[in-house]
């Protein structure tokens, strides 16, 4: 009971803080998500939790919101602390395990599996005074092509996002690394198709 009251008080304090007011006042959903990510991962870092942005929101950042996504996938090394702070940030846990903040219209998926990409290749973004670590384009391409080939939940989206990343990062992509992870994940054929489209596009 006391703990619930404490969480409620912390939530209310946060909702009246300048940071939350700025978040809520940001009308552009893409910028609002970026501001939230900067503030949230900074809070996690201050509490000893490392977070990496992966999945659709990472692609969303690289494509500046053109290939918008529904949720924010965060790989963290401590689920309990992350969920505690999501709660304080006004998020509620939905039946499907996702965290939703109805004021900010942001959905977060907490992933506790170890980061599957190469940590050395993470790209860094600065949002205000905080550094946000984002999955590398190479690892996102691998992830999307794997999804296109084996999950088939949305092949068009997966292929288009892979092609966009190949095209946008054509000058900086580590093709040796990409070929290696494509081979390991049995998606060499899909990578060849995506490269073909990236050249034609």
């Amino acid at each position: 009971m006391t703990e619930n009251r404490s969480i409620e008080e912390t939530r209310n304090r946060f909702k009246t803080s300048p940071e939350y007011t700025e978040l809520k006042g940001e009308r552009d959903p893409f910028k609002r998500r970026m501001l939230f990510l900067g503030l949230f991962t900074k809070t996690l870092k201050q509490n000893g939790v490392e977070a990496i942005l992966v999945g659709g929101e990472a692609i969303d950042i690289y494509t500046a919101g053109t290939f918008a996504t529904a949720d924010v996938d965060l790989v963290v090394d401590n689920k309990a602390i992350t969920e505690k702070f999501l709660n304080r940030f006004g998020f509620g846990k939905e039946a499907n395990g996702l965290w939703l903040n109805k004021d900010l219209i942001i959905v977060v998926q907490v992933i506790t599996n170890p980061y599957s990409g190469d940590p050395e290749k993470l790209r860094k973004f600065k949002v205000k005074d905080h550094e946000l670590r984002v999955a590398a384009p190479e690892d996102l391409i691998q992830n999307r092509l794997y999804s296109a080939k084996f999950w088939k939940s949305n092949t068009q989206r997966d292929m288009e996002q892979s092609i966009a990343l190949l095209k946008i990062f054509a000058d900086s992509i580590d093709n040796t690394y990409l070929d290696k992870i494509a081979k390991e994940n049995d998606i060499v054929d899909y990578l060849a198709e995506a490269r073909k489209y990236a050249l034609e596009t």
């Binding site: 910028k31 499907n96 599996n113 999950w151 288009e160 092609i163 966009a164 596009t201």
Partner: protein, 168 residues
């Protein structure tokens, strides 16, 4: 005996459990992520369950495939899972649960899956080629989207060394 074994293993048990909690349907990606399953194993499992009509699939907006338990056998499987979990939490002997008498009782409720036309339940998009999928956009549409992404990215971020800084 672990109750997961009654469903043919951990993956199938976890997939059924996820589907039992998702009345409006869910994607293979969501199931794999929330249950911590191997993606390809999740997809294979869903394909099997589709074949046996335990699961139905529907392609919704943005070409996403959603899976949910079928009204008949799927819901029966979920009910079975629920009752089994309830029984195990009440410490009912699983050997008794597996006894011929109880098996016979459950068999009366089971649908003959092998008599169904499985082709009706396959994902219609499954065998589409990449070229077919990619032809859904009008010519030049994807190029324009990618070009606008690059422009918008340059407007939103400035690069300093290896860091992209959000301009606010």
């Amino acid at each position: 005996m672990k109750i997961e074994m009654l469903f043919g293993g951990n993956t199938r048990f976890a997939v059924l459990e996820a589907l039992a909690n998702a009345y409006d349907g869910t994607t293979a990606y969501q199931i794999a992520i929330t249950k911590g399953l191997d993606p390809s194993a999740t997809y294979r499992c869903l394909t099997e369950l589709l074949e046996f009509r335990i699961v139905e699939s529907e392609t919704k907006e943005r070409n996403q495939t959603f899976y949910k338990l079928s009204e008949g056998s799927g819901r029966a499987a979920a009910e079975f899972l629920r009752s089994l979990k309830q029984k195990t939490s009440e410490s009912v002997d699983l050997e008794k649960w597996m006894s011929p008498e109880m098996q016979a009782e459950r068999m009366k409720k089971i649908v003959r899956f092998d008599q169904l036309d499985k082709s009706k339940f396959r994902n219609k998009n499954e065998n589409q080629s990449i070229d077919e999928i990619m032809s859904k956009r009008t010519p030049g549409e994807l190029s324009a989207l990618i070009a606008s992404s690059e422009l918008a990215f340059d407007e939103l971020f400035e690069q300093e060394d290896n860091m992209f800084i959000l301009k606010i």
